[in-house]
Structure formats: structure tokens, C-alpha cells
């Protein structure tokens, strides 16, 4: 079964169209050089898993893509829009790029349904009824339509993360960023979130995912990137990456996370 799914995922098409292109990007926190000379091109339909030790800059990298963090050098182009300090460009990119956070960041004062319809109504200017239909569609997709009228505080962690995914999808993004989506979850809930992400990948969503779920990486990713000390150290197809890592740093990292 898993084999078959893997095969299906592998067959997913990656188009030649460029979704994200990052060239020569550098970022500093004060005097600390967090991201060094990042060059990365993501084609539409790619599923990229970014891994690495903590503090390696992997979260910072994907947070730069939707301008939650500012980069100081180099360029980031998302869907043909160059990320600059122009607030119009930033808002345009943010409405095209969905983001899922480690700690869900649902809005606790709004119901699940309101969480999902807020941005479509106010940013996309979609009529309320239509936004609600869309929201229910995606809540069904993440398998929790019955929770629509509850508040986030009443849901389990896994359910909250699935709502967070649905909330992002309601904006009909063309790219999804995942920032350690399962790290704050109990082991039993990790699977339900990963299943949601897998089905998203199968529909051809362009995904960048910071995660330590190596099973997910093998099954879904078409490319795995290993980062350390603010640099991209190694990237490869998952089979080659896991079975035949090239750099010593990667080998050490893999032996540590796969070792037990």
C-alpha cells in the first residue's frame, strides 16, 4: 500500500514553470549571519522537504519567502512577483502563499468557520456565503466539517493543525509553506496531519516543508534539502539523499535522527 502510494507520489508532475526563485539571498539577525548565499529554484508542483539541525536557518528561509522575515541581500521572486519592501507586493505574495505554523496560530476568538472565511472575505473580497461554502469544502477535505462552529480551544492539537491547513487552503494559494507542522503534536496526531499533507501533495500543490518526518519526506518529497549553519549543504532526490548522503554533516545528521 505504502509502496503504491509512493509510486503515485513519485509520478506527480513537476512542471517547468518556476514558482519560487531565490538567488544569492543573505540574511542577518543583527550581526549574526543566519542565511548565507541561498540559491534555490522551486518549480510548480514540487514537494520539497527542508531538514537540518535546529538553528540551521530552515524556518527562517521559508519565513523569508512570504516576508515574515526580511532578507537583506539577494532576491526572492514568488510567482513572478519580486519581493521588495513595497507593501503591495508583499500583500500580493502573502495572499498567494499559504503558511502553516508549528503552533497552529489559529485565531482563538473566532470559530473554526470564521477562521477559515476571514481572509477570503476581507482580502479576496469574496461574498460571505461563497467563502463559507469554500471553507466547508476544505474543512471536509481535512475531515473536520462537524467542528465548524466550535472555537479552536475546543479542538485537539491535530484537529487545530488541520484547521490551520484548511484556513490556508481557503485562500486558494498556489504554494504552501509548512514550518514544522507536526513538531508540537502528540505522536497519535501526527499521522492525521501528515495524511492531510500527503493528499495535498497528490493534488499537485507546490509545497515547501520544514519537517523532521523522514517517512513523509521519502513518501512525498521529490527533493530533500539539508541545511546547516545557514547554508544549503546538500540537496537530492529522497532515495539518494537518505541512502547515499554525500557530505559528512548530512551523514551525521541522518545517523542521529534515524539512529534510534
Amino acid at each position: 500500500m505504502a509502496k503504491a502510494q509512493t509510486a503515485a507520489a513519485k509520478k506527480l508532475e513537476v512542471s517547468d514553470e518556476i514558482a519560487i526563485s531565490i538567488t544569492n539571498m543573505n540574511k542577518w539577525y543583527g550581526a549574526f549571519h543566519v542565511l548565507k548565499e541561498i540559491d534555490l529554484t522551486v518549480n510548480r508542483g514540487e514537494r520539497i522537504v527542508i531538514c537540518g539541525p535546529s538553528g540551521s536557518g530552515k524556518s527562517t528561509l521559508i519565513r523569508c519567502i512570504n516576508a515574515l522575515e526580511e532578507h537583506q541581500q539577494g532576491s526572492i521572486t514568488v510567482d513572478g512577483t519580486l519581493l521588495s519592501s513595497d507593501i503591495k507586493n508583499i500583500d500580493k505574495i502573502r495572499s498567494e502563499v499559504g503558511m502553516v505554523f508549528q503552533h497552529f496560530n489559529l485565531f482563538p476568538h473566532l470559530t473554526i468557520l470564521e477562521n477559515c472565511t476571514l481572509a477570503p472575505i476581507w482580502v479576496r473580497k469574496i461574498p460571505k456565503k461563497e467563502a463559507e461554502d469554500t471553507a466547508m469544502h476544505f474543512l471536509e477535505k481535512v475531515k473536520i466539517p462537524e467542528q465548524a462552529d466550535k472555537y479552536p480551544g475546543q479542538l485537539s492539537g491535530g484537529q487545530q493543525q488541520r484547521v490551520a491547513i484548511a484556513r490556508s487552503l481557503c485562500m486558494r494559494p498556489r504554494i504552501m509553506l509548512f514550518d514544522e507542522p507536526t513538531s508540537a503534536l502528540d505522536p497519535e496526531m501526527i499521522k492525521e496531519v501528515l495524511d492531510t499533507m500527503i493528499s495535498l501533495a497528490e493534488e499537485g500543490m507546490t509545497m515547501l516543508c520544514v519537517t523532521h518526518e523522514m517517512g513523509f519526506a521519502r513518501q512525498v518529497a521529490n527533493r530533500v534539502i539539508f541545511m546547516d549553519a545557514g547554508q544549503i549543504v546538500e540537496q537530492n532526490e529522497p532515495e539518494a539523499f537518505f541512502n547515499n548522503p554525500q557530505s559528512d554533516r548530512t551523514k551525521l545528521f541522518l545517523s542521529q535522527i534515524l539512529g534510534h
Binding site: 516576508a67 495572499s95 499559504g98
Partner: protein, 431 residues
């Protein structure tokens, strides 16, 4: 007997009927034992408390019960009482109008502020209880102008121009805000001010000799009415200004940030009484000599900025308590600054700030009595001045100040109860 036949096997034939708990474990007996007489020190405290309550009641109840309500002076009241303990509440009935409206407000117009007071409840209801139909907010929007017209009277043109100015400002703002937030704000304000100054000149020229409602000067406002006017206006202006200051203090624009910081720190560092003296005496120097700014407006400005500075700091606490993830989630969904603040950040930050805001509001309402020291005759000013100084009522402290205390308590306790209801109503975290 059949000792050897002992067995662990057991079958219940009949279910036991439910029985009430023993008498000492239910109802009042249980409550008294657990709460009043649970141990020796507790019992001693209970007895002492009962004695204290007894003496308090033994003094206060006859004082209220034997109270005299109909005499026209203190001497007359003492005569009626003939040495018996009793309050001379007749000062309240005899000076009722002065206590409520002050001594200078024309008595034939008393119905106007009274009507404004009743309408205040209708205007406040849709704001306070947001489950009510949203259409009622239209009346809330009109109320300030209606209340102004009722209380001050004069040509109806002035409140209409006030309303028109707000409408023009809002319209200009909403046209421009899509292009640039700051531009919309500034030009909107400018448009409103232009409308007001043009309109008031026009109204001044066109005003009829005899307006529908006779005009009353601000100096003639007094009594509890003055406290209510100052309190309501200052609180309802201080909240939005405080929110703006709190957001401004967080701003990334250095000028905005430092203006807000300096303003807040300065106002918080100055006693309110000083500000009121400034309003009374010094403020006139800052305005052009021909601009004769009404004393009431000057006092309202001071009360408003004073409490706005405090509210700003309270809200800053609420903003700081909000996890960074909330801002990031709003950003990542593409909400712009105004939308993120309006729909994500402020609803949560204000909810956290409710107890602090209510603290400031209650404090402000009580501080309105400070205007008595700049010779405005609010409730306390009326009591200390015209009433206690009169020959009829010289020396009736308890009744008058007790009455003032009761009035203020009713309002402040009401605010406090409302805020607690609001906190319960807004609780969605289900912790």
C-alpha cells in the same frame, strides 16, 4: 450457629432506595456548620462579626427609618426629630433639582437633560450588548449630536453641522484610505474640520432669533448631570484615543512612535488636578485670543487625554500579551495592517485589557468630581458649595455625601458588573 457456611457469594435481591442525607448534612445547617462554625477561631470571628453587624444596623437602620423627608431646613428637621436618631433626608428632596442639575440650569428645561439621560441607555445598549441588531447603532451614532442639542439647546444647525462634518470626514477617509492609510486619515480629518468651521460660520449667520430649544451656557451646567456629561464624553473619547496611542507606540514609524511615547509619559507624569488648572487658566494662552474655547470643552479635553494615556498603557499590556504567532498568522493570510489590527489583534488585546480599561473608566468617572476645585459645580461642588453653605442646610454632611456616594456607587458598580458579564460573554478559550 452455621459458622462453617460463611461464603463470599452474595446476591442483592432488592435495590436499595435512595435516602436523603442526614439532617446535619443538608441545607442551611450544613452551610452554617461549614462556613461559620467550622472551627474555634472561625466561630469566634462569626460571633464578633455578628456583634459588629448588629451595632452597625442598630445605628444605621433607625437613622434611615426615622429619616425626615419633608422639612425645608435643618432646624425644622431637628424639631421634628426631637432628639431621636434620624437622617434629615429632606435636604435631598428639597434640593433635588440642584443636586441633579446644578443651581443655574433653567428649571423649565430640566426635561431636556433628563430625556438625554434616558436616551443614553438606548444609545449605549447596542454598543454594550453586541447581540442586539446592528441597525440600532444608527441611533448611537446620532445620539451625541442629539444629546448636545437637548442639553445645550441653541440653533439646531450646530449639531447638524457637527454630524455633517463627521459624515464628510468619513466619506473622504473611505475614498482615500484604499490608496494610503495615513493620507485617508489626515485628509479625512482636514475635511471634517473644514466642514465644521465653514458650517458654524454659516449657522452663526443664519441662526433664528428664537431657536426651538433655548440655549444654555456651559457655565450653567452642574450637579450630577455635569458628572454624567464629563464621564460619558471623556470615557467614550478616551477609549478610541487610547487605542490609537497604544498602536502608535508600537508603530515602526519613529515619529509616530515617539510622539505617542512622549505624550503618554508626559500626561501620566502630571497630576489630573494640575491638568484641570491648566484647562481653567493656562490653556487660554495657547489658543488665539478670539477663540473663546468653552470651559467645559477644555475640561473634557483634559479628562480625555488623561484617561487616554492610562488606557493606552493598559491596552499596550494587552497587545504585549498576544502571542507573536497571531500577528504572523494575520500577515501570512495577506491581511493588511488595518484589517489585522481590527479583526485579529485588537479584539483579543482589548479582551485581555477589559479589567484594566474598566479600572480607568471607573477612576475617571469618580475623578470628574475634581472639577469642583476649579469652581465648576458638579455634584460634590454643589454639596460643598451652595448647599452646605446655605443657612437652611449648614451641617447636613452624612445625608448629602452619603447620597453622592450612593449615586457614584450605582454607576461604578454597574460598570464593573457589565465588564464581568462581558468577560464571561467573550470567553472562548475554554480553559
Amino acid at each position: 450457629m452455621a459458622a462453617k457456611k460463611s461464603s463470599v457469594a452474595f446476591v442483592r435481591k432488592e435495590p436499595l432506595p435512595a435516602m436523603p442525607p442526614p439532617a446535619r448534612d443538608r441545607g442551611a445547617a450544613k452551610w452554617i456548620r461549614e462556613n461559620l462554625l467550622s472551627n474555634i477561631s472561625n466561630s469566634v470571628l462569626t460571633v464578633l462579626s455578628i456583634i459588629a453587624i448588629y451595632y452597625l444596623c442598630a445605628f444605621v437602620l433607625p437613622w434611615i427609618w426615622n429619616g425626615v423627608w419633608t422639612t425645608s431646613s435643618l432646624a425644622e428637621c431637628r424639631e421634628v426629630l426631637q432628639g431621636v436618631t434620624g437622617g434629615c433626608f429632606s435636604v435631598l428632596t428639597e434640593r433635588w433639582n440642584q443636586l441633579i442639575f446644578g443651581f443655574a440650569y433653567p428649571s423649565e428645561f430640566y426635561w431636556r437633560p433628563a430625556l438625554a439621560f434616558v436616551l443614553l441607555f438606548f444609545a449605549a445598549a447596542p454598543v454594550l450588548f453586541f447581540d442586539l441588531p446592528r441597525k440600532l447603532l444608527i441611533f448611537t451614532g446620532l445620539y451625541p449630536f442629539l444629546a448636545f442639542w437637548l442639553i445645550w439647546g441653541g440653533p439646531i444647525g450646530y449639531p447638524l453641522i457637527g454630524l455633517l462634518g463627521c459624515a464628510v470626514g468619513y466619506f473622504v477617509h473611505s475614498v482615500l484610505v484604499a490608496r494610503n492609510f495615513a493620507l485617508g486619515l489626515i485628509v479625512g480629518f482636514a475635511a471634517a474640520i473644514a466642514t465644521w468651521s465653514l458650517g458654524s460660520n454659516l449657522v452663526g449667520a443664519l441662526a433664528p432669533e428664537q431657536p426651538l430649544l433655548g440655549a444654555v451656557e456651559s457655565r450653567k451646567m452642574g450637579g450630577f448631570m455635569l458628572n454624567m456629561i464629563l464621564g460619558t464624553v471623556a470615557v467614550s473619547l478616551a477609549l478610541p484615543i487610547g487605542i490609537a496611542l497604544a498602536l502608535g507606540r508600537q508603530s515602526r514609524l519613529p515619529i509616530v512612535k515617539w510622539v505617542c511615547v512622549v505624550f503618554i509619559e508626559f500626561i501620566r507624569g502630571v497630576p489630573l488636578i494640575t491638568l484641570l488648572f491648566v484647562a481653567n487658566v493656562v490653556l487660554a494662552y495657547f489658543f488665539p485670543p478670539e477663540a473663546n474655547i468653552d470651559i467645559l470643552i477644555r475640561v473634557i479635553i483634559m479628562l480625555t487625554i488623561f484617561s487616554a494615556a492610562y488606557i493606552a498603557e493598559v491596552i499596550r499590556g494587552g497587545l504585549a500579551a498576544l502571542p507573536r504567532g497571531q500577528y504572523e498568522a494575520a500577515d501570512s493570510l495577506g491581511l493588511d495592517y488595518a484589517q489585522a489590527m481590527q479583526m485579529i489583534v485588537l479584539p483579543q488585546a482589548l479582551k485581555i485589557s477589559i479589567p484594566g480599561i474598566v479600572n480607568v473608566a471607573v477612576g475617571l468617572f469618580k475623578d470628574t468630581t475634581l472639577v469642583s476645585i476649579i469652581s465648576m459645580f458638579d455634584l460634590v461642588g454643589m454639596i460643598r458649595g451652595p448647599i452646605l453653605a446655605s443657612t437652611e442646610w449648614n451641617g447636613v454632611y452624612w445625608e448629602l455625601l452619603g447620597f453622592a456616594a450612593v449615586l457614584f456607587f450605582i454607576v461604578c458598580y454597574g460598570i464593573s458588573q457589565y465588564s464581568q458579564w462581558l468577560e464571561r460573554r467573550l470567553a472562548t478559550d475554554h480553559r
